[in-house]
Amino acid sequence: MINSLKNTLLFVTLIILQVWVFNNISLWGFMTPYLFLYIVLKVRVDIGHTTLLFIGFFTGLILDIFQNTLGMQAAATTALAFVRPYTLNLFFKTSDFQPKERPSLNRFKFGGFLKYVVVAVFVHHTVLFFLEAFTFHHFFQTLEKAFFNTLFTSSGIFVIEMLTQKKEK
């Protein structure tokens, strides 16, 4: 009960912060941290793949409604949700996970969590930036944007993770 309340609070807070604060940040004209992805990244490890896809889709869609970018975030976040289990399997053994465990810095250690976050976020950003450009004309330019933005978003996610971890101890 307390857990689901905490989750709802995290969800609402991150969405509001994304719309109100993070979306207004634009470093060098294009770098915006999409820290709401933290919601999808922190979903339980043992959740069903289909359920995860729907969580991703609706999280993205809610953001789209606020940003008037109907479909863009939804597509990108769904893609993240799709690759998340594969990313986890790539870097970790599934048998290592405890039931109901959430991906965390404490358990994955710095390197593990970094790889997980960077790969997942990069998938999201690639889809998002290409949909935004809606063309493959500036292929490498778009890919470069997605890459640098990934570093920016990932650092932000690490900060959130560190801030919330302290509390849990």
Binding site: G29, T32, F54, F57, D64, N68, T69, L70, F82
Partner: protein, 270 residues
């Protein structure tokens, strides 16, 4: 059939993934084109309300700058009042009012997307109509593409779907102004007859040929220009007169004779 179900069951997540992606991309595609955005974009009063509350709070941080701009504008307006002139011209002919300006406040704005929009807190109830021009205190800003009861969505000048024709004040020549998606401060001007000699800071104003913007509103200033004598037309870079980063108070242009003009056009076309 059984095998098909088994197959679908085994790769269920993949098909769900494909389905959700198809839905999302479909949504993007329909709202992408300029025509599509005119039809599809339903401005939502609910999200509009939330965004307005948020903007009310963040607006406080920019009050000082905003006040300065308003004071400047007041000064300009005052200098145009009859009282500002020593000798009042008694021969002035008063014509019918052609434009009405509806003040509005920006509640949501993007700068760094490939297509940018902003939302304002006036809608149908306040007489806002689709395809009306929106101007800031310093220049033109966008065009209304969706209206709900209390809010309107504006296609920003920072949008590849928005090209506006402008007049070089120095020569009276028409050029096209558009945004190349790079920087919210700068746009591109094309179709400049290459014999013209432009210098940095030359002014571009609206033509008044459409009912969207009144004549002579600031569009921007020439920032970079290299003449290309070998070609027929040259290109250049302009700085927009409107600073989108600080955009808060705008005016929606209501052309009062628009219906009459459109009727005349229709009659001529029949």
């Amino acid at each position: 059939m059984h095998n098909l179900l088994l197959f679908l069951g085994k790769y269920r997540s993949f098909f769900v993934f494909l389905f959700l992606e198809a839905v999302s991309v479909g949504l993007v595609a329909t709202s992408y084109s300029y025509q599509g955005s005119l039809v599809v974009n339903t401005v939502n009063d609910f999200t509009g309300g939330i965004l307005e509350t948020l903007s009310n709070v963040s607006g406080y941080f920019a009050l000082k700058k905003e006040n300065e701009l308003l004071v400047e504008e007041n000064a300009t307006l005052r200098s145009n009042c009859p009282e500002a002139f020593l000798i009042t011209d008694t021969n002035t002919v008063y014509v019918d009012t052609l434009y009405r300006f509806i003040p509005a406040h920006v509640v949501y704005l993007t700068l760094n997307k490939s297509s940018n929009y902003f939302m304002i807190n006036k809608g149908k109830r306040h007489g806002i109509k689709k395809e009306s021009g929106v101007i800031s205190t310093t220049g033109i800003a966008g065009i209304v593409i969706g209206v709900s009861d209390n809010y309107a969505l504006v296609l920003s000048l920072l949008n590849p779907h928005f090209a506006v024709s402008a007049r070089l004040k120095k020569y009276g020549t028409l050029v096209s102004v558009l945004w190349d998606g790079e920087d919210y401060r700068y746009g591109k001007m094309i179709d400049i007859p290459s014999h013209l000699e432009l210098s940095v800071g030359d002014t571009l104003v609206t033509t008044g040929y459409s009912t969207v913007f009144p004549e002579g509103m600031l569009v921007g200033f020439v920032e970079e220009y290299q003449p290309a004598p070998e070609k027929e037309f040259a290109e250049g870079k302009i700085r927009f007169a409107t600073d989108f980063k600080t955009l808060q108070d705008v005016y929606v242009v209501d052309h009062l004779k628009k219906a009459e003009m459109e009727k005349l056009m229709e009659e001529a076309n029949d």
